[in-house]
Symmetry: C2
Subunit: 215 residues, 2 copies
DNA sequence: CAAAGAGTAGGTATAAACACCTATTCAAAC
DNA sequence: GTTTGAATAGGTGTTTATACCTACTCTTTG
């Protein structure tokens, strides 16, 4: 919902792959690819001058690979969200990356739309992963993460009420009348819903509600 | 999407049932129950002075029952949409009613939300039925209706393109830039989409898209 | 060849949504 | 007992969406 776009850095050793990713990300007006890098070393050089919100980081790279880069990044920048990319669907790798503080994990043969969703979600909620990641994490009982609290933003009871009514095509004014509150309050709830779900507008809110089975 | 509400007549011999239905329908700001009647006779008396868009018609009634009422209505008012209500889930009855020109069929122990949806859909698309109705119709090979063409409004290619982009949270202006057309044209497409899907606003459009697997 | 429908686009409004603020109250949690 | 979060609500703009019009150009279809 913010005016400021989500600033993205793209780190992968293959130029063609980076180009493809840029095209995929260009589909989203609220995304901005600030810079690319072909390895971790180059990434840190650029990062010093150009801050980003999200890094899409390939695991397999020459010079300074994704794991090394992630480790070093976590010692200096705790606020930057990292989505790890790899070709290998290995439970051990997933667990390792998550423990190192990755915010998301994606396979390289994933659907393009998923990448955008991943960026959106890590930016808004701090975490994104697909079902295979959940499975891997569940297998690992030495897991230190509190997954439950991270998976979904906590939507309050009142916000949920408002969200349900929004999905029934009521306007803010109508919802206010139904709930006997000011329409400014309804707007407040909707605004906080947009923040929590990482939506640009009411459409994103409705999509979120449907996709998460809230309606 | 129209400003004008959907005008509804409620025909059932039980006053309490009519009252309950009115409460259910009152949940929708775009619905207006113009009048009630306790049988077909009374219904036609009121209809002469108060036009309606949709009639919710009970099958079982004294004096002039739902079937008789439906038959007579089809000789004079072809444009009024009729939703038949009954307690009995009989394939023969369903087929008979549909052949007589009913636009929808609902069981009396249906979920309240379904009633609103039925009204919305018959008003917008001319037809609404649940899965058990489809089954009944399929069993009947002497069926004269062209069901396929009635079930869903035909959304054109360009409209579908616009709808997809709307669901990706793009504004009309952004969609216009993407498709190299004027934003007035995009608005035109969206407007016609709203008409076809019977939506009040962009939220209804998104809900329709999701529920019909268009996204 | 006339009629219908899709796609295009503009005029002129109002209504709703959105952004960015502040501020109070109240209950729960630490 | 202070802090935090949820719910409340107002101010003040800008941007989008919506309503209700008209009208032109195509292509398809009867």
């Amino acid at each position: 919902m913010e005016n400021a776009p989500i600033r993205i850095a793209l780190v992968d050793d293959q130029k063609l792959f980076r180009g493809g990713m840029k095209m995929i990300l260009a589909d989203r007006p609220d995304f901005e690819v600030v810079f690319e890098a072909k390895n971790g070393k180059q990434f840190f050089e650029r990062l010093a001058f150009e801050p980003v919100d999200v890094v899409i980081l390939d695991v397999e790279m020459p010079e300074m690979d994704g794991i090394e880069t992630l480790e070093r990044l976590r010692t200096t920048h705790d606020d930057i969200r990292v989505i790890m990319l790899t070709m290998h669907d290995s439970d051990r790798l997933i667990n390792h990356l998550m423990e190192l503080g990755a915010n998301g994990f994606l396979l390289k043969d994933e659907d393009p739309d998923i990448v955008c969703k991943a960026v959106e979600r890590v930016a808004a909620e701090g975490i994104f992963f697909r079902d295979y990641v959940s499975k891997a994490l569940l297998k690992n009982n030495r897991n230190k993460m509190n997954i439950g609290s991270l998976i979904k933003p906590k939507i309050s009871d009142r916000e949920m009420e408002v969200l349900q009514l929004i999905c029934k095509e009521f306007t803010s004014k109508e919802i206010a009348e139904k709930l006997f509150i000011s329409y400014r309050t309804v707007e407040g709830h909707r605004r906080s819903l947009q923040e929590k779900t990482g939506s640009r507008n009411i459409v994103g809110l409705v999509m979120y509600a449907v996709q998460n089975g809230l309606v």
